[in-house]
């Protein structure tokens, strides 16, 4: 303890426990018998080396006047909590326990190699794993501990010595110890049929002479081997099947997720396909939904079954977009399913749009039923609303029917135009012939007037005009019109 003067105290210390000389808590305190002052033993002895006085009151003092301080003072300072004097060690303890810590447990204390003869110095924490040529190792033949460096020499000697088996009393060289252990007739053995349930235990010699011949399990050993083989095969098969089931389950799970996303996107369309179970179209949807069907087979099935529902194969094929589109659509839906929370809000307006288009389609269909009766061409162009189709297919069909409608409207307009032109031409011709007739009549009339004037002696046409006021206004009006028409 006196060698370790530099303690680091964890807590503050009562000033009454401080030595006046070193200003630290008393370390091995001694009290003067003459004046009753207390100092560290080292401090007061060193002070007495300089002057034979008490440092506090200068009373005469010698080393003989010192006696160890009262035990209560010693206890007070010994129980102060200090840090370990090794900087790297974080251990704290009472001061009186620190010495023990350093001597026995502090891992940062330098100690010599625990093996005798090795003069290396190392930290205690490292010494546990230290191996040197002086480390003791156990000889496998004679079980004595020898230094690692001498093990080879020891073995050469050791192996040649004779040893006696504890069980059978046989003498042999130590090098043969391990081989003897496997053949000693006295060594305890268990029946080789132990795995099958035989509980016999006995000496090796008894095993072959007595037990094997009478062991009921040994008699069945042929059966056991076959049984084991079969079990093994079955287990292997079972593991393979388990794996397959697992992969199928994961497949089903992904398909279910896809289906859910698809149903979410489809909205009312999906429900309708469920309702129409009896209709021929459901076979398509059923095959579509069956999970064990590989995805690449779907489009083929759709095209195969398409002539059943609609006469025009091309029009129905339009309901099913190419496979790339389906897959990209599924991928979108999958990615949408992976983050479902924000997607829910997006889903509702989409669904409402679908509903709108659906009701619009219904209205459209109702509007055009008479048209389809009258004109067969238009009726075939309108897409039938079939809920077994995909939403995209139906939209595509609707778009196509709109296109067809616009085409037919265009042809109708053209036909109207042609009819109008024809009629106009015909009317023009008729008008021209009427004009010619009128002109002829006018000429005849004129000739008749001239004849009449010659008969009455009046040559002035103006007089002639005035002489027929009642009739001429009407005629004149008519003639002037015709004239203006001919002039034009």
């Amino acid at each position: 303890m006196p060698s370790m003067a530099n303690f680091n105290y964890v807590d503050g210390v009562n000033p009454n426990l401080l030595c006046c000389i070193c200003r630290m808590p008393f370390n091995d305190p001694f009290t003067t018998q003459t004046c009753g002052h207390t100092f560290c033993r080292d401090c007061i002895l060193q002070s007495l080396d300089h002057v034979y006085q008490c440092p506090i009151d200068r009373q005469a003092l010698t080393a003989d006047d010192l006696k160890p301080a009262d035990s209560i003072i010693r206890s007070l300072v010994d129980e102060l909590v200090v840090e370990c004097t090794n900087q790297t060690c974080s251990h704290i303890c009472q001061r009186q326990l620190l010495e023990q810590h350093l001597q026995s447990s502090c891992p940062y204390v330098e100690v010599p190699c625990p093996s005798r003869g090795c003069d290396q110095i190392m930290l205690r924490g490292e010494a546990v794993n230290h191996r040197c040529e002086y480390s003791l190792v156990t000889c496998d033949a004679c079980d004595t501990e020898v230094e690692a460096a001498q093990l080879e020499d020891h073995r050469i000697q050791c192996y040649q010595q004779l040893t006696t088996c504890d069980l059978c009393g046989l003498q042999f060289q130590r090098s043969a110890k391990s081989s003897h252990q496997n053949s000693c007739p006295e060594s305890p053995m268990q029946c080789p049929q132990q795995v099958n349930g035989c509980s016999w235990k006995g000496k090796r010699v008894a095993l072959h002479s007595e037990h094997i011949s009478s062991c009921p399990y040994q008699a069945l050993s042929g059966f056991f081997s076959i049984f084991h083989e079969r079990t093994q095969v079955l287990q292997d098969e079972n593991t393979v099947l388990k794996r397959r089931v697992e992969s199928l389950q994961t497949q089903i799970r992904t398909i279910e997720i896809q289906l859910q996303s698809a149903s979410l996107a489809l909205g009312p369309w999906f429900r309708n396909s469920n309702l129409g179970l009896s209709s021929p179209e459901t076979s398509i949807s059923d095959t579509l939904r069956s999970p064990d069907l590989p995805s690449h087979q779907r489009p083929r099935l759709q095209t195969v079954s398409s002539p059943r529902s609609v006469p025009e194969g091309d029009a129905f094929a339009a309901y099913f977009p190419p496979q790339e589109e389906i897959q990209s659509y599924e991928r979108q839906q999958l990615s949408a399913m992976e983050r479902p929370a924000p997607d829910r809000h997006l889903e509702h307006p989409v669904r409402s749009i679908h509903r709108n288009s659906w009701s619009l389609g219904q209205g459209w269909d109702a509007l055009h039923t008479p048209a389809s009766r009258t004109s067969k061409q238009v009726a075939s162009a309108v897409a039938p609303l079939d809920f077994s189709c995909t939403l995209e297919g139906t939209l595509e069909g609707l778009r196509e029917s709109i296109v067809a409608l616009s085409t037919s409207m265009e042809t109708l307009g053209r036909r109207n135009d042609i009819a109008l032109t024809n009629e106009t031409l015909r009317l023009n011709e008729e008008l021209m012939s009427l004009k010619a007739n009128i002109h002829g009549l006018r000429m005849q009339m004129h000739a008749m007037m001239m004849d009449n004037a010659q008969l009455t002696g009046r040559t002035d046409p103006l007089l002639f005009e005035n002489s027929f006021p009642t009739v001429s206004t009407h005629r004149y009006h008519y003639m002037s019109n015709t004239q203006s028409a001919t002039k034009l």
Partner: protein, 179 residues
């Protein structure tokens, strides 16, 4: 003068029995005690006295300051003190002298040496820098004219007016040196 020089040189540690323990071991404990004293000085604000190590690396050379106590001729004057600790401190006293010229019966005006019993034979290991500086502060006001180092000062001590004139004639302001 001879008495002064002998008093200034620290007494050899081996004048009695050799000190127990190696010097290396003791220097660690001395540094620890000096650090402890420095802490105490800084924590307790004693009026008119202060001391610090000259530079950070060396705890054994300190510079202290004493202000003259009010009511004495030294009132308002500051004196710089050099303190040098021996390796076997606190069993032997530190070497102390005035850096600022001090006209005082017990102080050598040229070398700054001090004639004070506690710095010599009356030294005790329980004394500290704080007690030394306080003793010096009181020594300024109450000189021991019985054993003067500066006989001129001792002679005119009773005439305080003349003493002050002499004092101020020798006094150099602290600033130049402490800068």
């Amino acid at each position: 003068m001879e008495q002064l020089t002998t008093s200034l040189t620290p007494r050899p540690a081996t004048n009695k029995a050799p000190v127990a323990g190696s010097s290396q071991q003791s220097s660690g404990s001395v540094a620890k005690r000096l650090g402890n004293e420095l802490m105490t000085l800084m924590m307790s604000a004693s009026p008119g006295i202060s001391a610090f190590p000259k530079n950070d690396g060396n705890l054994f050379e300190w510079v202290g300051t004493i202000e003259g106590a009010p009511g004495t001729v030294y009132a308002g004057l500051s004196f710089k003190i050099a303190i040098s600790f021996p390796p076997n401190y606190p069993y032997v006293p530190p070497a102390i002298k005035f850096e600022t010229p001090c006209f005082h019966p017990n102080v050598d005006i040229n070398s700054g040496g001090i004639c004070l019993d506690i710095l010599q034979d009356k030294w005790s290991a329980v004394y500290s820098v704080q007690t030394i500086l306080l003793s010096l502060q009181s020594l300024l006001g109450e000189p021991n004219n019985a054993s003067p180092l500066n006989t001129d000062a001792a002679a005119i001590w009773n005439n305080q007016e003349a003493f002050k004139i002499h004092l101020l004639r020798h006094y150099r302001p602290l600033k130049d040196e402490s800068a």
